[in-house]
């Protein structure tokens, strides 16, 4: 940024000559290069060796059958066996299905609810600061605490939720113990915890919108839903895109909520990818295979999300330039 500013700084013809006299162009370019390199150096010192170590170690792990309980297994070369095993692993495919449902349903509800709440809080309403603080509370909790708290609340024997449902005559249900309701319940906790993130970002986006398109539309007679459909949402599109992207990336990685609430059960009904990788890596200590599954999933996420992220970032840059 500073290099760009220096290059674009308007200088008079006389000044330019003096500068060229003092500093030959090639030398200046070299100095610029060194200057830029020196800025990247601290990060590079840490990031590049780490990346190399991870890459080399990763290749070593996915091509070997290492199991922590078997000393010497790290030297057992298996080639692509771990990959073939992954492609024929029904539990892995089941966990991908669970993760996709979790992401699409969870993020979908979060977006719909989050935008709705943000629109309701937009403008001058009494106690807005207080409401915003209250809404933020679930987001402040770590997922482990949120998961444990909800697990206790939903406990069929001593939990508040079942007691309350019993009291009002609906009758309790073991929400986490029934495979038909376990995933839905876990998704609701995900929604409860992360909708505030959507609210806060969308609210900030709403408050930074230029009021003139709204005024023009109102002069033309647009109100209510029309205003929302044709003015608010299109103007918010870049913000919404970024929020969706961030929420999807976060939801794909979900681990703590599921691990604390159901550990992937009953059966495999809530076993998301991260929980499956954890199970392979840290319960059976099959490190080679766990790394392979982790690499495959990370690559899949990158392939799917990277173009979307690039497009969204391009969209933002174009908007800024416009």
């Amino acid at each position: 940024m500073s290099a760009t500013a220096t290059r674009q700084a308007p200088v008079g013809p006389g000044e330019r000559e003096t500068a060229s006299y003092r500093r030959p162009r090639s030398r200046q370019r070299a100095r610029d290069l060194v200057s830029r390199a020196s800025l990247a150096l601290p990060a590079a010192i840490i990031i590049i060796p780490l990346l190399l170590i991870i890459l080399v170690q990763g290749v070593q792990l996915v091509t070997h059958g290492e199991n922590l309980l078997r000393p010497g297994s790290a030297d057992r070369f298996v080639g692509f066996d771990n990959f073939f095993r992954a492609f024929s692993d029904p539990t892995l495919f089941g966990s991908i299905r669970v993760t996709l449902v979790y992401v699409f349903v969870g993020v979908g509800i979060e977006m719909a609810l989050g935008v709705a709440v943000a629109l309701a809080l937009h403008g001058r309403i009494p106690g807005k600061g207080f409401l915003r603080a209250i809404i933020l509370m679930p987001m402040v909790l770590t997922p482990v605490v949120a998961g444990l708290m909800w697990r206790l609340l939903l406990d069929p024997t001593s939990g508040f939720v079942n007691w309350f449902l019993d009291t009002i005559g609906i009758g309790g249900h073991a929400f986490l113990g029934d495979p038909a309701t376990a995933l839905g319940t876990v998704i609701l906790v995900e929604v409860w915890q992360n909708t505030p993130f959507v609210v806060i970002i969308v609210l900030a986006g709403l408050e930074s919108l230029d009021p003139s398109p709204f005024e023009a539309a109102q002069v033309d007679g647009a109100t209510g839903f029309k205003l929302l459909r044709h003015i608010t949402l299109p103007l918010l599109a870049p913000v919404l895109s970024i929020v969706v992207l961030l929420r999807v990336i976060d939801a794909v990685k979900t681990f703590a909520i599921i691990n604390t609430m159901t550990k992937g059960g009953p059966g495999t009904s809530t076993l998301a990818i991260s929980n499956y990788v954890y199970r392979i890596g840290f319960e059976t200590f099959d490190i080679g295979y766990a790394t392979t599954v982790g690499v495959l999933v990370s690559l899949a996420v990158l392939v799917i999300l990277f173009p979307a992220a690039t497009r969204l970032m391009g969209l933002r840059i174009r908007k800024v330039r416009r």
């Binding site: 199991n67 029904p90 073991a174 200590f285």
Partner: protein, 442 residues
Amino acid sequence: MRATAKHQSGASRALVVAVSATLITGGLAACSSGGSGDGGGDVTINVLAEDISYTDNWKDLLPEFEKETGIKVNIETVPYSDQAAKILLNFSQKSSDYDVVFTDNTYGTGYYQSQYVEDLSKYEDGAKSINTFDQFYAPYLAPMQTDGATFGLPVYGESTWLMYRTDLFEQYGIDGPPTTMDELEADAKAIYEGSGGSVAGITLRGAPGIQSVYPWAGFLRAFGGDFYTDGELAVDAPESVEATQFWADLLNNYGPDGVANFDWEQNRIAFTQGTAAMTIDATANGPFNEDTSSSVVAGKVGYAAIPYAISDAPETGNTDNSLNVHALYLSSFSAQKEAAYKFMAWATSEAVQANAVANTESVGVTLQKVIESDAYAEKYGAFQDAVLQQLATGNVDYLPAGQDANAIITEVGQALSRTLAGEASAKDALTAAQQALKTQLR
């Protein structure tokens, strides 16, 4: 303008150099700060322990030990379910961070096979005045003994048993505890249906992994099964399938709501809160059942052997009650082995165990003298005989042990959970588990 840009550029570079220098020197400092942490010359040992009452008892008494021996002891506790991963990661990196680990023999045997933990025989004489192997109740020491080596000192042990509500059995006209699996099912049905579903016939742990596998292994043995057939892993053997289907049907038909996620604690709470008429679990549950401050069933619980589905208890020793021991193991990578062993001998000594009986819940103490003491009889009299009887017949091979134990327990646990959830039949789930294990353990 140009001067300003140049000034900024110079300032930036100075900042970069400063940050780089700080990072590099910081890194060097960090590299060179790996001190012994032994507190100024005294020997310091680190112990990774289960977060339970036995550990709390050590913590209370540690100052005396430290004063007498000059050995400083740091005890770090982690929940049981996270412990195996932490220990194994430590061992596999050949780290000397933990000198002693406290875990159960299912994992300990594997650690010994992998040479992660030491044979203690050569250290015994060094702490003879504190404790010796022959003072332990023999069945508790046996799981950590092989080929003349003793690789762990037992802290607490347990078996499994049937716990049943005597008041409910009487109310529904059931005469005594069930002695066969058919009777167990009939009794569960009678109470569940007789109470209109308000009291579950039986509650068991249903959560995936070791939680469900531990009590389920009793059903496996009760049907005459084993994890191995002729030395080959066979978790999908007919007896195993039959036991699993029976177990799942029993819980689905007469178990409490949410049983599919029950771990030890939830199962214990369900039983002590009067939600169920029977449960099969560890002998360590006894004191919790009889604790009048937290149990509504205190004084109303009977304790009995786990029934069999086959005609008699097998004479081969394949009994359907466990003998599970949680012990202290000495890391092969410890730099303070003598001091670490001294702590192990002290932590399992008579004075320490007697203090545990007096002040905490510790029905599983492991020294013969303490188990036979008056204090023990006074505190655990309600079920002492039943505990000792179960220990005497406890199956040392109840769960798979050794290097493959984790994989087998995890896969079978998943198969149980899938069967209970109705995702697959017992046969399909166990066949899938067997296939997965064949791939993993080749």
